[in-house]
Assembly symmetry: C2
Homo-oligomer: 335 residues x 2
């Protein structure tokens, strides 16, 4: 096992302290709690709070999106494990400014259960919450049972849209509504080329041969649709694109944003090749791309592979996507 | 070999086309040349041009820093190979606006030779050039022969300082002078945990055992100082920090910027652990950190490992570092 770390059981706490050490002018640990990060950016009074939570090991997801025009707070658990309901409740309280909090997170059992408990707890303090689940991974369940799908890289678009909506002083209901609409327009699918190593486990999460890739794998190493022989960049892009557009109806004249997300060990050069092919497929269909995102947005530590996400835009979603946003790990300038 | 690519011999050209496809609103290929990228950002009239060149395979270095307040142009060769003098000359010409061009690049034989020829060529067109070499890698040569050192991640700070100086309408001489001062204040050292694969070669650049790391390795896999057993994050940070401060005199009350640069496959979490330790060592010595940079700034494709860079600031360098800058791959907001 070759990971740059100290005692594996301190991994998450040390990362959290490191984030505050580096970016303490913009984000901070809530009352010094090494599992809860909240924004220190100036905030409009009465703005709806946007929070998320989930397992560690996906940076920049989730902590990297605590900032301005994005998330107000984030609770994390151990690597790939949900944080407790207690931590979530403390975070929700800290992020409420009187007009409620949107809990926006990936569709995973532990996170759902704990968020449900946390929301009950804060209700006793008269804090209103709504929950919206991100379910963008087309590989994880067929279209007929789309609500069972996992949340993966598309959640970054969801954070961006929700954060911008709150920044525009929409009500909690309105923020939840537009975020739900965005998620209905987001699809992701990924491939994995190599596993990652969970610090406290110390061995690879799965095995894969040197000439193989796994199609549709989840960001925690959940099994995909099939294992096949290695394909070219164009073949991978085509495969992912075809699966996504079989699920998300796109028509000539539509506008989309495209994210090619590196899972950790895949070079930016290779991500760009895949983006290029996806963009050319879209162009052939008369579909324009707005604000492409290419890079590492939601990783599985050192896993090699990437995912493609398409967000279908309408005027409202485009307006929210283009609003400025800033965090230590993500910057979007108004263009 | 598992790389996401098409025909290996098309790798660089396809990446260049991909960059223009994604970010054609901000950068473009010079006359469609797939080895020369220039900025399309609005530019002040008569600004000194800042250009670089080098081998491909290091994204975001070099292409990712073509933008506003950064580089005006960049020529690239094949992976880890210098571009031709002809390409460099075409780029210099395109980036001259009457007041000369600074050629700012890493201290490698091929790049030096080709830039020297390119500068002679453009002189015939009455274009004034000056050259400044980045020599920040303390592992590559002892202090007595510091001018022989290689340029590595510290070149990103050099690009930022030079770009800001040009933006302030300094003359070519002034830009070269302040950039030279910055480089004299920059030191980097790195460790590698795993090799990368050059597309047209198809096999790892070097071998290293599963329980070893190489100290002082270069970003093309150049041999380092020693191979040793795997160390903890704190031990790695201490080792790199000690080597850097043995070479760069820091005193209580000094201010520095620190970059922890992932070489490709090393997770952001692990980079943050190393940053945290370096920051704590600096704090103990009464040295403040300004604008930390943590992430992938200069990679070796899928190589695992990281480097630490320290830039010692004075009032002028701090002022230039904090000026806004923007490219498709790097954003710095004025704070």
């Amino acid at each position: 096992m070759k990971k740059i770390m100290n005692d594996p059981k301190d991994f998450v706490d040390e990362v959290m302290v490191g984030i505050e050490t580096a970016y303490g002018d913009r984000v901070h640990l809530l009352d010094g709690d090494t599992r809860i990060l909240v924004s220190s950016y100036p905030k409009k009074r009465g703005k709806v709070g946007i929070v998320t939570a989930g397992g560690s090991g996906h940076l920049p997801v989730f902590l990297g999106y605590v900032g301005s025009g994005l998330l107000d707070g984030c609770a994390v658990g151990n690597v790939f494990a949900s944080p407790s309901a207690k931590k979530m409740a403390a975070m929700i309280k800290a992020c409420d400014d009187g007009n409620g909090v949107l809990c926006l997170y990936g569709n995973y059992g532990g996170d759902k259960m704990n968020f449900a408990m946390a929301c009950e707890v804060v209700e006793m303090d008269d804090i209103e919450t709504m929950s919206v689940l991100v379910t963008d991974d087309v590989a994880s369940s067929p279209k007929e049972t789309a609500s069972k799908r996992r949340g993966v890289a598309g959640m970054v678009y969801a954070f961006k849209i929700a954060g911008a909506a709150a920044e525009q002083m929409m009500t909690l209901n309105q923020v939840a509504e537009v975020t739900t609409k965005a998620i209905a327009n987001i699809r992701t699918m990924g491939v994995a080329l190599s596993p990652c190593i969970v610090p406290e486990v110390g061995k690879p999460t799965f095995t894969i041969e040197d000439d193989e890739l796994e199609l549709g794998m989840g960001i925690h190493g959940e099994r995909g649709i099939e294992v096949c022989k290695m394909m070219s960049a164009n073949e991978i892009a085509d495969y992912l694109f075809d699966r996504i557009v079989a699920d998300l109806i796109l028509e000539k004249g539509d506008e989309v944003s495209v994210m090619v997300n590196g899972l950790g060990a895949t070079p930016l050069e290779e991500q760009i090749l895949v983006y290029s092919r996806v963009a050319s497929r879209l162009k052939k269909q008369g579909i324009a791309v707005y604000m492409p995102h290419i890079g590492e947005f939601a990783t599985s530590m050192e896993m090699a592979g990437l995912s493609v996400t398409i967000l279908k835009l309408d005027a409202q979603l485009k307006g929210l996507l283009r609003m400025p946003a800033s965090s230590p790990f993500y910057t979007s300038e108004n263009k």
